[in-house]
């Protein structure tokens, strides 16, 4: 197993294998190894612009991500892509098939694509995914596109990791806008109506506009709606220009810094809660007092909240 310091050195020199191995290390690790790596990499992570891409399965996320990558490359930007697919909760395995859509970018040295399974993380992007973003950032990528699973909490929580969040819809597929989960529609900085050659595209756009009109949190940025046919590369130039506009908007209103802070804090809380759970609670869980309390709850002698109070008291005493 390569020394992580050595790998970081190689990464900073542009070694793709080192990048890949570092991502594997943070994926397979819960805390200690990631801590070492992130400590070394952190000073180098501030350049990349992170874009989150989310939408229901079948909305064309991967194709759109691929086209966006190609478009960015014509503007000579380097791109990191992280494609997240669901890990089976029963078997622990995953079928990571997003690369199928990204054949042209595969051998382009300016692009680095990594497929990741959710590996049981329930909400948002896993610590590993966030660390992978930082690794690609340190590797020098101008843009990092994070394509989420598209079902469940991770769709909404992408906003904690990305600066610009793109929500993709498809005419006719998700039925009415009203039926779509409220959270997703609120996090979109840009909305894409893909497969825009299908029937119902104008109605979808209109419904989106109406929903945006009703949004009580109206701030200065009105999310644009872009029609695309990703499979034909149509609308992608416009999409990229919206991303750039959003970026300028954030920068000129000091909001980019705020989003960065949000991201940092969210990752901090993630690491903290893991550590608290592990280092404080793990020990306690082995102890007799914990199992006693559980028994008492079972016997209806004590309620859950009171038990929690007792546990906190024990922890306070310990510290």
């Amino acid at each position: 197993m390569s020394d992580s310091a050595e790998l970081v050195k190689r990464l900073l020199k542009g070694d793709r294998r080192a990048v890949a191995k570092l991502i594997t290390l943070v994926e397979n690790d819960k805390d200690a190894q990631s801590a070492k790596i992130m400590h070394l990499l952190f000073p180098h992570t501030k350049k990349a612009y992170i874009v989150g891409i989310t939408g229901a399965p079948g909305s064309g996320k991967s194709t759109l991500t691929d086209r966006l990558t190609l478009e960015l490359r014509t503007k000579e930007k380097t791109v990191g892509v992280i494609a997240v697919d669901p890990t089976s909760p029963f078997t622990g395995g995953a079928l990571l098939g997003d690369r199928i859509r990204m054949k042209e970018s595969c051998t382009d040295k300016g692009v680095f694509i990594r497929s990741m399974g959710t590996r049981g993380s329930l909400g948002g992007l896993s610590r590993a995914t966030n660390n992978a973003i930082r690794i690609l950032d340190a590797f020098g990528k101008d843009f990092i596109l994070v394509e989420t699973v598209g079902a469940g909490q991770s769709e909404v929580d992408i906003v904690n990791s990305a600066y610009t969040s793109i929500v993709i819809l498809v005419p006719g597929m998700g039925d009415d806008i009203q039926a779509i989960k409220a959270g997703i529609l609120e996090i979109g900085d840009i909305f894409v109506v893909n497969k825009a050659d299908r029937d119902g595209v104008d109605r979808t756009v209109m419904e989106l506009e109406m929903m945006l009109d009703l949004n009580p949190k109206k701030n200065i940025w009105r999310p644009p709606i872009v029609k695309t046919i990703a499979s034909r590369g149509e609308g992608i130039e416009e999409l990229l220009s919206c991303i750039e506009k959003h970026r300028s908007y954030l920068e000129s209103n000091n909001l980019l810094g705020m989003r960065r802070d949000c991201r940092n804090e969210s990752e901090l809380m993630d690491v903290l809660s893991y550590r608290i759970n592990k280092y404080l609670l793990d020990d306690l869980k082995q102890s007799g007092s914990y199992t006693d309390l559980l028994k008492k709850i079972c016997e209806q002698k004590i309620d859950i909240y009171t038990a929690a109070d007792e546990i906190l008291k024990i922890l306070w005493k310990k510290s």
């Binding site: 079928l95 098939g97 997003d98 859509r101 054949k103 499979s231 034909r232």
Partner: protein, 559 residues
Amino acid sequence: MFEKDKLEELKKEKKEWEEGSLKKVLDKFAERKDEFMSISDAPIERLYTPEEVEGLDYSEKIGYPGQFPFTRGVQPTMYRGRLWTMRQYAGFGSAEDTNKRYKYLLDQGQTGLSVAFDLPTQMGYDSDHQMALGEVGKCGVSISSLKDMETLFDGIPLDKVSTSMTINSTAAILLAMYIAVAEKQGVTPDKITGTIQNDLLKEYIARGTYIFPPAPSMRIVTDIFDYCSKNVPRWNTISISGYHIREAGSTAAQELAFTLANGMTYVDSAIKKGLDVDKFAPRLSFFFNSHNDFFEEIAKFRAARRIWAKIMTEKFGAKNPKSMMLRFHTQTAGCSLTAQQPYNNIIRTTLEALSAVLGGTQSLHTNSMDEAFALPSEESVKVALRTQQVIGFESGVANTIDPLAGSYFIEAMTDKIEKEVLEYFDKIEALGGVLTALERGFFHKEIADASYRYQKEVEAAEKIVVGVNKFTTGEETQMNLLKVDPGVQKKQEDQIKALKDERDNKKVEELLEGIEQAAKGDENLIPYITEAVKEYATLGEICDILRDVFGEYKEQTVF
């Protein structure tokens, strides 16, 4: 078929049998399995009696051969008039190598040709293209230009021999070449007979040799329908295929349903383009798999004819009986053959060929015993051909038409498959038709699930494969396998270079531009391709133009 009273009586008798003799035996000896299923997991009953075909109207559902609904066959005399065409799919190496094999097969009694092209030819690449590396001549004959085609059919009279070409994305180009070769022999297009597979929908679903996206592919397909109906009237313009869908792992009902749904899509597309159904439909043909569940396959073929006849009349208003006839070619199931104990494959192929014949196929390819290792050797393809000849000339099954009609089992199965197919039609319709269902991964999911389920059943020995999970020996059988001349690639590369030096390159460039313009518009592409091919524009050159205009298809990710 039976009167109500009689049926009630029969039901009583059956019940007595079940509670009497049958129970006596079952009390002592259980049956081999709890449930008996076909290979497609269709439940098979212990016994079929008149009860199972209650209400079956002979005239309406079974009828007479050569007459609606064609359940018993598409011709009134069937094999008593003429045996099915024995048409072995063949091709490898260079055009010269394959020409030799064709002459051998025709000498051995084969009655029609069937061309297998290598992957570069199927995928629109010349032999000297980077993507052709290692593939030239490996699973079919290498054709990069008209010159190759001329060599392929050298000494073979195209007014006497019918040729089926398994070619899809590049079908227009190969057809144009075939017509040009025939003309050089003095045979005019109106005299040539044969088929091009030309079925793009199944490529997206199961076979993978697609180039362009669905819309331009459908355009080329209907251009061919139109062109041939006017200029090449004896040519089958499409072979709507279920073989590959079945090979990819589908069930029998799925094979039939998806194939016929694709067929409807093609008919629809042609009608929308302004073609008269009775002008092009008579030249549509089909291609099915003959798998190893003997009776299920026979029922499938009969159901196919009946369903298609009803579709053509009820949905498309066809008036010409020829439009209603489902004519088909069959290939025995490659995926049923094993690498272990390969001689067993001869037996499998025999049974599969027999069900195709009992199912009324118009032409038949039988696989060779070395299917799991390589392309057929001369020896093994001879045995495969003899299989058909023994069935046709010795077994007597061709003496009467549709001999299994009236069997309670067969008629019940035929009805059952028809019902299942109609349910699939409803599902596809509800999804918005074949093209939308394709986009949504419907076909891929059905096939992936069926193939995974089958694999699990084999690994659990719930489905037996002799020599693989039962009666295994662990020994390896020595076989003399066909080897493709590795020098073919270089030979082809040299030839292409020489060709490009000899031909009128200016003319070729003009003609290629003509194709580009036509492709961007909506003129029929075939005349343009024909002109270019005659001047020795290569297959790759023509496809590069079309790739630029139409784009390339990206596969589905569905497991």
